[in-house]
């Protein structure tokens, strides 16, 4: 087996083992949170609301909630895992080895994606208790889940590279990702907004991910789905290049 592949599998295995070893911290909380969203917004409030884009409110928000779980957990996994290896200094195990920087990134990203997709899958299972979601196009569902978790795992890793203390790993999720996700069309269709706010909303990259993912289930979208795919690929390539540059320069990890 190619030695770089062995390096990648070793990091990915370590990251995945970590996720399942501490499942009470990594898998259970998002499932409980999303279940509450389903109960409160879907059942209690949603039953009082009219249909959105031809679907009842529960069916409309379910893909958005699944995507929200994927985004949050992909990001959280890499930022906390990478910062933790910096904090405990076991990042040095990797740095002294001949593992190429690109392989280090892919290994960590694999962990973020496993957690993001696992939580996404579990939340999807929970959603079955509340709504029978149609599957319009499984390819788009998987493509958006894959690309989104890839992009947010990378974003989490960049945060982890710059983080110097534990506070630094929660600033971006709290002040950037959560607001963007809430304003990213999870709970409403942007077509309901005035034109000006629709245009403003389109500057939020998360709206493309939520909308494209929802398209996979419902077959309706506010924005061209291929634009969403293109944006995700662009973000993926850009963030991967930035992460590679940061590791090569040793920012935050070498003196």
């Amino acid at each position: 087996m190619n030695s770089n592949l062995i390096c990648f599998l070793t990091i990915a295995r370590r990251e995945t083992t970590r996720i399942f070893r501490i499942w009470v911290q990594t898998l259970l909380p998002p499932v409980i949170t999303m279940t509450l969203y389903f109960i409160i917004f879907g059942s209690f409030i949603g039953s009082q609301l009219r249909a959105v884009n031809g679907y009842d409110y529960m069916a409309f928000i379910a893909p958005g909630l699944i995507m929200m779980a994927i985004i949050t957990n992909s990001y959280t996994n890499t930022v906390s895992s990478f910062f933790s290896t910096k904090f405990q200094r076991n990042i040095e195990e990797l740095l002294v080895s001949p593992t190429p920087n690109g392989v280090i990134i892919l290994g960590y990203i694999a962990g973020g994606m496993v957690r993001g997709m696992s939580v996404g899958f579990l939340v999807s299972l929970v959603s079955l208790f509340f709504v029978r979601l149609p599957l319009h196009n499984v390819f788009y569902i998987l493509l958006f889940a894959f690309l989104t978790s890839f992009v947010f795992s990378l974003a989490g890793m960049i945060n982890g590279i710059f983080a110097k203390k534990f506070d630094d790993i929660s600033i971006i999720p709290t002040f950037v990702i959560t607001p963007l996700t809430y304003l990213g069309g999870v709970f409403y269709s942007i077509s309901l907004l005035p034109e000006f706010w629709q245009a403003v909303s389109k500057a939020n990259p998360i709206i493309y991910m939520v909308d494209g993912f929802r398209y996979g289930f419902l077959g309706t979208s506010d924005i061209n789905v291929l634009t969403g795919v293109a944006m995700l690929i662009f973000f993926g390539i850009t963030l991967f290049s930035v992460t590679l540059y940061l590791l090569k320069k040793g920012i935050g990890i070498r003196s």
Binding site: L9, R14, V96, P98
Partner: protein, 307 residues
């Protein structure tokens, strides 16, 4: 070229200035030959860990060159890294992971397949007395066990050059001696070893070549025999059988009474011990026991670093 072939490590004019402005290395030139047990000694902040950091890529150098078995780290760092194993000064493994997982993962980072990694981790964990702790989380190990775990981890890819930064710090005497035997055995088997240590006795017992670094510069680099030859004075602590009031002076020697039965005696290396004892005997001072005040290398080290 021939010289380079025999060198496990060649460092030329290595400099490092940290972003804080601290010049940790001011042009270090050093060569470690294959098969040597090389001691790098120096006080805290002398630059030992910075040198190791540069060789292992944890620290970016400011200038100079480093070659590992002839491979320039600026040309092919990955190839150079495959030949190096490092045991750092501070614990740097995940305390939540199991002992064998830590060692196997390190093998994986060097491209060793898992099946082989399991075999090698068993070999080194057994050699270092940690096999029965293989399924224990690293946080549950004692300090000495953690040190041994880092040695096992540093050896799992079977490097030709092993670098140990203060490997026996905080380890009890019995365990330290056991580790010395293990390291000496590794060296006899052909592995080049670079050791930094605060225990100068350790360097005296293990190393055949010693360099002393102070203030970011190498101030001495020679073999141990040559270095000890430079020691012109030795200090001993003598315990007298009966209380002593005073001691008469002796040429080329000095005596200080630490308490009524303890004498600190310093005399030149050429001074005969018989003459010292005859001198004390003539004053009815019976020496019951004697020991070195400090280890011989320590005395020389202190003298050199103080210069």
């Amino acid at each position: 070229m021939m010289n380079e072939m025999r060198a496990a490590l060649s460092i030329f004019d290595l400099t490092k200035t940290y972003s804080s402005g601290l010049a940790a290395l001011k042009g270090v030139t050093l060569e470690v030959r294959q098969g040597e047990f090389f001691g790098l000694l120096g006080p805290n902040g002398a630059g030992k860990t910075t040198i190791i950091g540069i060789i292992t890529s944890l620290v970016n150098k400011s200038g100079g060159s480093v070659k590992v078995f002839g491979i320039d780290i600026d040309q092919d760092f990955a190839a150079a890294k495959r030949l190096i194993g490092v045991v750092p000064q501070e614990f740097n493994f995940s305390i939540f992971e199991k002992v064998q997982d830590i060692v196997c993962q390190q093998a994986g980072y060097y491209g060793i397949a898992r099946a082989e990694a399991l075999v090698r981790s068993e070999k080194y964990l057994k050699k270092l007395g940690l096999w029965n702790k293989r399924n224990v989380a690293a946080r549950e190990l004692s300090g000495g066990m953690k040190r041994r775990l880092m040695i096992a981890r540093g050896l799992v890819h079977e490097p030709k050059l092993l670098i140990l930064d203060e490997p026996t710090a905080g380890v009890d005497v019995e365990l330290r001696r056991g580790m010395w035997d293990f390291l000496a055995e590794l060296n006899r088997a052909g592995r080049t070893i670079i050791l930094t240590t605060h225990y100068l006795e350790e360097a005296e017992v293990l190393c055949n070549q010693i360099a002393i670094i102070a203030g970011g510069r190498i101030i001495e680099n020679t073999n141990k025999r040559e270095l000890l030859r430079k020691l012109d004075k030795e200090t001993f602590i003598l315990d007298s059988k009966a209380p002593i009031a005073s001691i008469l002076p002796l040429e080329d020697a000095s005596f200080t009474l630490i308490d009524s039965t303890t004498i600190e005696a310093t005399f030149g290396k050429k001074q005969s011990l018989n003459r010292v004892f005859e001198h004390l005997n003539s004053q009815d001072i019976i020496v019951e026991s004697m020991r070195n005040k400090a280890n011989r290398l320590e005395e020389l080290f202190m003298a050199m670093v103080e210069e």
